[in-house]
């Protein structure tokens, strides 16, 4: 959490994370170049650069895309999510080097503008196998550029978390465009079953992980509690919630997290104001609900971030009847104080 904007709020974990990213990228490039020089010595530097950075970016994108569902399925992978934006920006830089070199190599020094040439030098838009695959890569790079350039809390705050999240969900459009770019481009000419196979396998793994994670989430959304005569929703037995943790329920169209701490119960809206992280998967730390994604904090009894921070989430009233928790499904204004119930 921060009050002012800095380029990067460095800490020990971010530094280690970035060192591992750099090590992985360097390892990939050195090995790729060494293998190319050993087994394909007649190749030229431009081709080697385009291929090395392009394939590196594709593999990095696969790693990025498994982090989300993996950490939904197992919170122990959350540290990988914590600094995912650095991985994303690094992947964009690899893709940018690939794209810029490819445009310089194939589309500059001609009789038309090089960007115009990307779109017009092959006009077989009606054919699948002859489709101008460069256009797909260009559009993907554009999406990645917007994502990378807004990968900062300044833009998250100023664009609003919803717009920001929407923009960053375009990574799936970029992934689809990149797969098509590779399959309709390089794989039309470089037809090794191994390279094609690794991307097919990657697609299967990414799709499966997302489906399994979505299935897990759907269980929460499928919750249909009984309502009592006052319209309060019966949710669960108090003993089902571990100490300093929460259970998430779908109340109306919203997800609500009910926290148990210090012999008390409080309910707040499940969505973190920072990046939409699931607060109910967080923990009470130093008396505050702490978001599992980036550690944003809220006081459980009023949904307010502790001063000097200003984020607020909606709160809900609870009632306890014979160890059974009931919730008033009508949420209160963000930051409204609600007396915790004793349990």
């Amino acid at each position: 959490m921060g009050l002012d904007y800095k380029l990067v709020l460095w800490n020990k974990h971010k530094k280690t994370y970035d060192k591992i990213i750099a090590l992985g990228m360097v390892l990939y490039l050195v090995l790729f170049i060494a293998l190319t020089l050993a087994f394909n010595p007649e190749t030229i530097a431009e081709t080697m650069i385009i291929r090395a950075f392009g394939s590196l970016a594709v593999i990095m994108l696969h790693i990025i895309l498994v982090i989300g569902p993996l950490s939904r399925l197992n919170p122990q992978f959350l540290p990988i999510l914590y600094n995912r934006r650095h991985l994303g920006v690094s992947m964009f830089l690899a893709a940018l080097i690939h794209g810029v070199f490819a445009i310089i190599h194939f589309h500059t020094l001609g009789n038309v503008n090089s960007i115009y040439a990307v779109f017009t030098s092959n006009m077989d838009y009606g054919s699948l196998t002859n489709f101008p695959f460069q256009v797909l890569g260009f559009l993907a790079l554009l999406i990645l550029f917007f994502m990378a350039s807004t990968s900062h809390d300044f833009f998250l705050k100023n664009l609003s978390p919803n717009v920001w999240k929407g923009l960053h969900m375009l990574v799936y459009v970029a992934y689809a465009l990149i797969l098509l770019h590779v399959f309709l481009g390089a794989f039309q000419q470089e037809t090794s079953v191994f390279t094609i196979g690794i991307l097919v396998l990657g697609f299967i793994v990414i799709s499966s992980l997302h489906l399994v994670a979505a299935f897990k989430e759907s269980k929460v959304d499928g919750f249909k509690g009984e309502k009592d005569t006052g319209g309060w929703l019966k949710v669960c037995d108090v003993h089902e919630i571990p100490e300093d943790r929460a259970k998430i329920f779908s109340v109306g169209k919203k997800r609500v997290a009910i926290f148990k701490y210090d012999g008390k119960l409080s309910a707040i809206h499940n969505v973190c104001k920072h990046q939409g992280g699931p607060l109910g998967e967080g923990k009470i730390v130093d008396g505050c609900v702490t978001c599992p994604w980036h550690g944003y904090q809220y006081l459980p009894h009023n949904g307010q971030s502790p001063p000097p921070f200003t984020e607020k989430v909606a709160t809900y009233e609870l009632r306890l009847d014979n160890d059974m928790i009931y919730i008033n499904p009508i949420g209160l204004e963000e930051g409204t104080e609600v007396e915790p119930i004793l349990c």
Binding site: H13, L35, N40, T47, F106, N111, S192
Partner: protein
């Protein structure tokens, strides 16, 4: 013993034991994936050919200039042994802009002896020369030579891929196929002659400089057929070490198959 409820907070230094072990597992998986990816993408590449582009070593060559169908310099390698060196411009352009400059000052240079300094491109018995400055072309004092008529080889139907010879014979690797198609289209529409590259089952290749039915250069009209396996029919003629083929562009047949020159 009750299991410790670990919770990771990015800005807190301490990390639980199990979380640490999960991070290690993920890092090893990611590095392993990068390693495997690198091996697969690095190793399984189609081998580039041994074509050469002497981009950093200028070479001076002298010979008789012939303008049609495309600018060439006929170089005498030994007594009565000649080589036709195809002339090209800088970037994705033909040589005409540079040659027009000298024509403006010296008049018709067809059949005259020129010395040109440029960058050689060569592969599979064919030589090309990139000119990047009209100042590097000089007209030598010698008699104009008569154009030697090309030898007629009859009508032929061949299957191959239309490429731009500058990239195909050395500037790019690969300089053919789907990946290179856009570049070839820019090169040919910029004045570089279109060449049909043909390769048989024994990997013996032949190259045809393509012209229209009247023997005139073709450029933009042929762009839709570049970089695709195609069948072409036409009258073939033999120059010193190049074939030319007169074709009707509208009769080029695109083939739905993998190119034989890959």
């Amino acid at each position: 013993m009750e299991k410790k409820d670990e919770f990771y907070i990015g800005y807190v230094d301490a990390v639980g034991k199990e979380t640490k072990s999960s991070i290690k597992r993920f890092v090893l998986f990611a590095l392993g994936l990068l390693l495997i990816g690198s091996i697969l993408f690095g190793f399984f590449q189609k081998e580039a050919n041994n074509s050469v582009f002497d981009f950093d070593t200028p070479t001076k060559i002298s010979g008789t200039y012939y303008e049609a169908p495309y600018p060439m310099l006929r170089v005498e390698l030994a007594k009565n042994t000649f080589k036709d060196v195809l002339l090209l411009g800088f970037g994705k352009f033909g040589a005409n802009a540079y040659l027009d400059e000298i024509k403006r000052h010296k008049g018709n240079i067809n059949g005259k002896h020129l010395t040109i300094e440029g960058n050689l491109i060569y592969y599979n018995g064919k030589t090309l020369l990139q000119i990047d400055d009209s100042q590097k072309i000089s007209l030598d004092k010698s008699k104009k030579k008569n154009f030697v008529l090309p030898e007629s080889m009859g009508n032929h139907e061949v299957v191959g891929e239309i490429v731009d010879p500058k990239c195909y014979f050395g500037v790019m690797k690969p300089g053919y196929g789907k990946i290179h198609r856009s570049c070839a289209a820019l090169c040919i529409s910029g004045g570089i002659p279109p060449v049909l590259a043909v390769s048989d089952n024994n990997s013996i290749s032949e190259y045809f400089l393509l012209t229209d039915l009247k023997g005139n250069p073709i450029h933009k009209d042929i762009v839709p057929y570049i970089g695709l396996p195609s069948k072409l029919k036409g009258k073939v003629e033999k120059l010193e070490d190049w074939y030319t083929m007169r074709i009707d562009v509208s009769k080029i047949e695109k083939l739905d198959k993998e190119s034989s020159i890959y």
